[in-house]
C-alpha cells in the first residue's frame, strides 16, 4: 500500500516537473531553437536582407558551386579561410597566455600576504568592465599618435618611433590578443583559485617535511591535482574565444588582418545584406563549435572515468 502511494507520489512529481520545465523549454525553443533552424535553412537559400521574405532554395551553392569553369562559394573564399585561421590563431595564443598568467595570478592569490583581499578585488575590475568599454579604453591607450603605451615605450627607448598598434598588419592581432588577455585572465585565475583552495593540505606538508623544492611540488602535486578544473576552464575559454566578435569589431573594425569567423559572418549578413551567404558562414562556425563541444563532452566523460580509478 505504502509502495503504491510512493510511486503515485513520484509520478505526480515527475508530471509537475515537466509543467515547471515547460515555460523555460518553450522560451528556449523560441529564442534559440527556431532562429538556429532558420539560420541553417537560410544557408541554403539566396535570401537578402532588404527583402528577407522572398528567397529561393539554391542547395549547396553558398558553400560550393561550379559555374562557367570556376569554383564559387564559402569553401573557396580566401577571406573566409583567412577568418578561420585568424580565429584559430587568436584562440590558441590568447587561451595559452591566459592559462599561464591565470595560474601565476591564482598561485599568488593562494599565498598568504597582507592585502590579499584587495588584490583579489583589483583583478575583478577587468572582468567587470564591458568588452566594448575595454576595447575603447585600450584603443585609446594604443592610439598611434597620442597613446600612452607608445609614449611610455618611446621614453624607455624600447621603440624608435610610434607604432600603429591596431592598424598595422603585424601588430593588429597582437593588440587584440593583449586586450583579450587583460580582460579574461581574471576569469581564468578565479576558476583556478577555486580549484587550488580545495586541495588537501597534507601532501604539501609531507613535501615540505621532505624538503622538496616548491617548483617540483607544483609540477608533481599541484598541477596534476588541479588538472580537471584547469581543463574545464581552458575548454570554456576556448569555446568562448572561437565565437569572439565584440572586441575585434570595435578595436580593429572589419580589418582583414584580424577578422574572426563571427565578424566575417556578420559583415556578409548585415553590411553586404547577403543573408544566405552570411548564414552559410554562421552555420559553418556553428558546426565547428558543435563538433568541438561534442568531442569535449565525449572525452570529458572518458577522463572523468579515469579520475575515479
Amino acid at each position: 500500500m505504502q509502495a503504491a502511494n510512493a510511486t503515485e507520489l513520484t509520478r505526480a512529481r515527475v508530471r509537475s516537473a515537466w509543467m515547471f520545465l515547460l515555460p523555460m523549454i518553450v522560451v528556449l525553443a523560441l529564442v534559440a531553437g527556431w532562429p538556429l533552424v532558420r539560420t541553417i535553412y537560410f544557408a541554403f537559400t539566396d535570401a537578402n536582407l532588404s527583402d528577407i521574405g522572398s528567397y529561393s532554395f539554391i542547395g549547396f551553392a553558398n558553400f560550393l558551386e561550379y559555374y562557367e569553369g570556376e569554383w564559387f562559394g564559402l569553401l573557396v573564399d580566401t577571406d573566409w579561410w583567412r577568418a578561420v585561421w585568424n580565429t584559430l590563431w587568436f584562440t590558441v595564443i590568447s587561451v595559452s597566455i591566459e592559462t599561464v598568467l591565470g595560474l601565476v595570478v591564482a598561485l599568488t592569490l593562494n599565498a598568504h600576504f597582507p592585502g590579499r583581499g584587495v588584490l583579489r578585488a583589483a583583478i575583478l575590475i577587468p572582468w567587470a568592465i564591458p568588452t566594448i568599454v575595454s576595447a575603447k579604453m585600450w584603443g585609446w591607450m594604443l592610439h598611434d599618435q597620442f597613446g600612452i603605451l607608445n609614449d611610455i615605450l618611446l621614453s624607455l627607448g624600447l621603440i624608435a618611433k610610434p607604432v600603429a598598434w591596431t592598424a598595422s598588419p603585424d601588430t593588429a592581432m597582437w593588440a587584440v590578443i593583449m586586450v583579450d588577455v587583460w580582460k579574461t585572465t581574471p576569469f581564468m585565475a578565479l576558476l583556478i583559485l577555486a580549484a587550488l583552495q580545495i586541495l588537501p593540505s597534507d601532501c604539501y606538508e609531507a613535501a615540505k617535511v621532505d624538503g622538496i623544492h616548491p617548483v617540483r611540488v607544483f609540477f608533481r602535486v599541484t598541477l596534476p591535482l588541479i588538472r580537471p578544473a584547469l581543463m574545464v576552464a581552458i575548454i570554456f575559454r576556448a569555446l568562448d574565444a572561437l565565437r569572439i566578435f565584440d572586441l575585434i569589431y570595435v578595436l580593429t573594425s572589419n580589418s582583414r588582418d584580424t577578422m574572426s569567423m563571427s565578424v566575417y559572418a556578420r559583415q556578409q549578413l548585415v553590411d553586404f545584406q547577403e543573408v544566405g551567404y552570411g548564414s552559410a558562414a554562421a552555420t559553418a562556425l556553428f558546426l565547428i563549435i558543435a563538433v568541438l563541444i561534442a568531442l569535449t563532452l565525449t572525452f570529458g566523460k572518458v577522463r572523468l572515468g579515469e579520475d575515479v580509478r
Binding site: V14, W18, F20, P23, V27, I52, A233, F245
Partner: protein
Amino acid sequence: MNPRRFVARLAFWLLIVAIAVFSIFPFYYAILSSFRSGSALFSPALLPDRVDFANYVSVFVEQPFGRNILNSIGVAVTVVGFSLFLGLTAAYALGRVRFKGRGVLLFTILGVSMFPQVAVLSGMFELIRALGIYNSMPGLILANLILTLPFTVWVLTTFMRELPKELEEAAYVDGASPWTVVTRIFLPLMWPAMVTTGLLAFIAAWNEFLFALTFTLSAEQRTVPVAIALLSGASQFELPWGNIMAASVIVTVPVVVLVLVFQRRIVAGLTAGAVKG
C-alpha cells in the same frame, strides 16, 4: 633574513604590484582621460592634473546618452526578471526531481550557452521582423534571453541540488503542491543564489553588443555598448576620445562597484557555473 629569502620576498611583492598595476591601470587611465578635454587630452602625464567635466556634459548633450542608459537598464532588468523566474522553476525540476531525459536536457542547455550568437543572427532577425519589434526594446529583450536563460538555469540548478533532500519531503507528506514547495520552501532558501545569478545575468545583458548593434537602427533605441562603440564627433576622421572615455566611465563605475560589493557571491556564481559543470 638571509639574502636568498630576501630576494624571493622582493620578487613576490614585485609580482603582486605588477598584477595590481596591470589590472587597474587601464581603467585608471580612462578616468584620467575623461577629465581632460581639448588639447589637455593629449597630455601624457600619469597623475591627475585637472578635473574638467566638459566631456561628461557633452556626452549627454551631443548624444541621447541618457536615453541609451535607460534603454540598457530597461532591457537588462526585464531580461534578468524573466530569466530568474523561468530559471527558478526549471531549476526545481532539474535539480530536485529524477525523470527520464533530465541529462539530455541539461546538456542541451549547456550546449546552448556555448554556441555562437552569430549562429542565430539571421533567424532572430527574421523572427524580430515578423513580430514587428525591430528597432525596439522588446526585440532586444527577446534576443538577450538566449544569453542569460541557459546560464541562469544551469547555475540555479547546481545551487538547488546542494540543498538537503529532507527539505521538501515533509511538505509533500503534508500534502503541499509542488508550486507551494517551490515558492514557500525553495524561494526563501534560494535568495542568495538568485542574487548571484541575477547579477551575472544583469552584467551579461548590460554588456551585450552583437544583437543590440544588429537589431537597432536609430540612436535613440541603442543600448549603452552600441552607443559607445558608434560614438562619433564633429568630424568623421577624429574620434571624440574624451567623450568616449567619459561615457565609458559612466557605464563602468556602477558595474565595478556592484562587482566589488558582491565580490564573494559573484566568484561563487562563476565557479558554480564552470567548475561544477
